[in-house]
């Protein structure tokens, strides 16, 4: 697996992208996390989150210009969340004192910060916590001078002092009344500061910096020229920011365009540049998400009811506790999870694709030790619903399949997980089922009907009937090919076996003159279309829509059905339309499921999900069968059998087209595993006998089994086939290798054809062998 490609896939998942509020915030405050805390009435936890991003929480909570709020997705749904007011509530109602500021071990590097405004204070704070020695120069007699002019109502002096106390508790040297450079110079010149310190941050406010013209390049004669991304000036050791940088347009608003949060941002990211400068690293690399940016996070607002902003009883006091909690509860807690919401598999493992992709890759990389994510890897239905709903078109299923293939290649795929399905494939590609012929009496074929292995297993009679109809309604010959398209091998990650299976089909198809293939199974259709592009393939449903239905076709007892579209043809509109046309012709009324066509779900069979993880497959089926009260209509045999197995009345489209001879087709449970094999084998002998006039007799097996419903159930659960039982008995009776339980008189015997040892408990009766119990194990015993 290519690491770079894995990373690209990981990055395609946007769930961990920040919400719009965080992305719009110059310093990316986790407003969503903070608001979640308030929603839980935990103001202290909320404050801790706020304080983690904001060095001066009391100041910012009162005066932030909150560029986050206009971006809030609640904007159109009752008004943006009042994030800044909630920040104030955190400050006002937090009962725990903020944790002590910790700082790194002291470094010998000395940095000068010029200017005691918000940007300079932030730079000083960040530098100290990173362990630098900081000297803070302030021209006036107090720090945060301009903030103190905002007035007691906007920003009480006491809050300023409390925030500054946190700074002053740190090892910082503050030199008040010390103006660096300038006409009224009371301190050293900038050149002297540059000389004395390893780096300098200038946060000197919006006033003209013309006095620095000898040391720095200026813009328009009065502003320090500052590189907006890196805060670099014309002098390599000097960085600058704050309102000197951004408040160019004094007409912006009354406060000279003062943006407190942008000042904090400038101080913070200038420190990043200073560190990079000191480490001689690139100043500009990897800064694309610095400052406000447009997030890729998608959050649906579909179905969300508008809710009005919670008003403040006393605006001068801000939100009360209860009001703040109420406002916090309006937050949408933006996240994507579009795929997780629609997929039981993705939901089952309690995370989302970005993490799953990493887990699966790590699982693949483990050389020695347990592979903890094998189950995650093998439980996906590969149905691609995730891709369909993903705003970024990330194919989790595609990645899962690649992982399976990679694990098979390195010999780390658990051998048992797909063994049963591959055995089924082996049966369906063996002499017992395969057949490829021109239509009886024809030397060539214009078409070739490929009913697939599962429809043949589930409803062999319908395969027979519909093939008759195709022969009658299409000129030029309709050949018949029985076999398996190889889907189980593909899903199991067995590229080798899948390739061989497809190649064998293609060879026979060519021998029949490369006719147009008609598939009755959506999975066969998908496999041929995607992996055998030279073979033209069409669905049975579009063919029937064109050539017409058999004369015998009649609507079933039920006249209203909800269509469950097949997941493997979720993007094939033509097939979906034809299914609906055919139902119309049959006089059946259609009720559309909410998640239909491209949004349909898997039935649990896809990707061999039901074999690898019956629990998840069960959830998938349960969720789907409760989407509507109406009888379901499927056009895939596995969907039908899986739904019917859980008691959902479900028709296959052929149940309605061919008519049902034995009772209520919607109620019929699909055949068990053993019967599925037998049905395929018998379909083959029936067509040979009845269509090609061959003298084929289905000989009764010399080992007749007497199987009670309970035993049949055990066989299904343990995936033991009648043919396995026969092999055990044949072996035991031929060799005498059996034991008798003296308490019950029953016989016990085992046989290991290849990789599995089967055990059978039986009694010999006159009419055959009565089976009491079956089980198996893969371990060898000697």
């Amino acid at each position: 697996m290519d690491r770079q490609r894995v990373r690209e896939r990981e990055n395609q998942c946007i769930q961990e992208q920040p919400p719009t509020c965080t992305a719009a915030c110059p310093i990316h405050v986790d407003a969503r996390g903070m608001i979640e805390g308030i929603g839980k009435q935990d103001f202290s936890a909320a404050f801790a989150i706020f304080n983690r991003f904001v060095p001066f929480p009391r100041i910012i909570s009162r005066i932030c210009d909150h560029p986050c709020e206009p971006e809030c997705l609640r904007h159109e749904l009752g008004g943006a969340i009042r994030i800044n007011a909630l920040e104030r509530a955190c400050v006002d109602y937090s009962t725990k004192k903020p944790a002590c500021v910790t700082y790194s071990a002291k470094k010998s590097t000395r940095i000068a910060v010029v200017g005691g405004g918000l940007s300079g204070l932030t730079a000083a704070f960040d530098l100290i916590t990173k362990g630098y020695q900081v000297v803070l120069f302030e021209a006036t007699g107090q720090l945060a001078g301009r903030l103190r002019e905002l007035g007691e109502e906007s920003l009480p002096q006491q809050l300023i002092d409390e925030d500054l106390a946190a700074l002053q508790s740190l090892p910082v040297e503050v030199r008040l009344n010390t103006r660096v450079g300038g006409y009224a110079q009371t301190g050293p010149s900038l050149s002297a500061v540059i000389e004395e310190f390893d780096a300098v941050y200038l946060g000197v406010g919006p006033d003209s910096a013309a006095y620095l013209e000898n040391e720095l390049t200026l813009e328009a004669g009065e502003r320090i020229a500052i590189e907006p991304l890196t805060f670099a000036t014309s002098h390599p050791k000097v960085f600058a920011g704050g309102s000197q940088r951004y408040s160019r347009d004094k007409d912006n608003d009354g406060a000279n365009g003062f943006s407190p949060i942008t000042s904090v941002h400038d101080g913070r990211y200038a420190v990043l540049s200073i560190e990079r400068f000191l480490q001689k690293a690139s100043l500009s690399a990897n800064r694309d998400q610095q400052g406000p940016f447009k997030t890729k996070l998608f959050t649906t607002t579909k179905g969300i009811e508008p809710a009005a902003t919670v008003p403040m009883t006393d605006p001068s006091q801000g939100y009360s506790r209860e009001e703040a909690v109420g406002e916090a509860k309006r937050c949408l807690h933006c996240e994507c999870l579009e795929c997780v919401k629609v997929c039981e598999y993705l939901a089952h493992f309690k995370s989302y694709p970005k993490r799953y992709i990493r887990e699966l890759y790590n699982n693949y990389c483990i050389v020695l030790g347990m592979h903890p994510s094998n189950r995650l890897m093998n439980s996906c239905a590969l149905c691609e619903l995730c891709t369909t709903v993903c705003p970024e078109n990330l194919s989790m299923g595609g990645f899962v399949l690649e992982t399976r293939q990679a694990m098979v290649e390195i010999g780390k795929m658990p051998p048992s997980v797909h063994a049963f399905a591959l055995r089924d494939l082996a049966f369906s590609t063996s002499e017992q089922f395969t057949l490829a012929r021109h239509q009886p009496g024809h030397q060539s074929s214009r078409y070739l009907f490929f009913p697939g292995c599962q429809l043949s297993a589930s409803s062999p009679g319908q395969v027979f009937d519909i093939y008759q109809h195709l022969q009658q309604s299409i000129a030029g010959g309709v050949g018949l090919m029985l076999g398996c398209c190889g889907a189980p091998a593909d899903w199991a990650g067995r590229k080798d076996l899948f390739g061989e299976t497809l190649a064998a089909i293609q060879k026979q198809w060519e021998e029949l003159g490369s006719p147009q293939v008609i598939t009755a199974c959506s999975s066969c259709y998908r496999m041929f279309k995607d992996h055998a592009p030279s073979m033209p393939v069409e669905s049975l449903w579009t063919v029937l829509d064109r050539v017409g239905l058999p004369a015998s076709a009649a609507p079933a007892s039920s006249t209203l059905v909800a269509i469950h579209d097949a997941c493997t043809t979720r993007h094939e509109n033509e097939i979906q339309d034809s299914v609906r046309h055919l139902l119309g012709k049959l006089g059946v009324e259609i009720s559309e499921l909410k998640d239909n066509r491209s949004l349909t779900t898997c039935c649990g069979y896809g990707g061999l999900m039901s074999l690898a993880n019956p629990e998840v497959a069960g959830k998938v089926v349960q969720r789907r069968i409760h989407d509507s009260e109406a009888d379901y209509l499927t056009y895939c045999a596995m969907c039908r059998d899986n739904f019917a197995a859980k008691g959902k009345r479900t028709f296959h489209l052929l149940d309605l087209i061919c008519g049902s001879s034995n009772g209520d087709a919607a109620q019929r449970k699909g055949p068990g595993y053993s019967q599925r094999h037998e049905n395929r084998a018998r379909l083959k002998s029936r067509v040979r006998r009845e269509l090609w006039g061959e003298n084929v007799v289905d000989e009764a097996d010399p080992i007749q089994l007497i199987l009670s419903p309970e035993v049949l159930q055990i066989m299904e659960k343990r995936m033991v086939l009648a043919e396995d039982i026969r092999k055990v008995i044949a072996h035991a009776e031929a060799t005498g290798e059996k034991m008798e339980d003296t308490a019950t008189g029953r016989l016990l015997a085992s046989y290991r054809p290849i990789a599995v040892t089967y055990w059978v408990e039986y009694s010999v009766r006159e009419t055959g062998f009565e089976i009491h119990n079956v089980y198996s194990h893969r371990m060898e015993v000697s």
Partner: protein
């Protein structure tokens, strides 16, 4: 453990080939290169081994799963 369970766990078995009662003996179970010595009923004469259902569908299955994930 009740007597009934005991009885079902170690049934009284007779090898049909040798007509000898099977007795507990040392056997080795192995999977994917890992080997474990355990005691199971076996025929003292021909060595035919009995694997009880509870072992096959319990411990053995667990060990198989964890060895497969290695």
């Amino acid at each position: 453990m009740t007597d009934k369970q005991k009885a079902s766990d170690t049934p009284s078995l007779v090898c049909q080939k040798c007509q000898q009662p099977m007795t507990m003996g040392k056997v080795v179970v192995s999977y994917l290169g890992a080997k474990f010595p355990i005691e199971l009923l076996r025929c003292p004469s021909c060595g035919l081994i009995y694997v009880p259902e509870s072992l096959a569908t319990g411990k053995m299955e667990q060990v198989e799963q964890s060895l497969e994930d290695k």
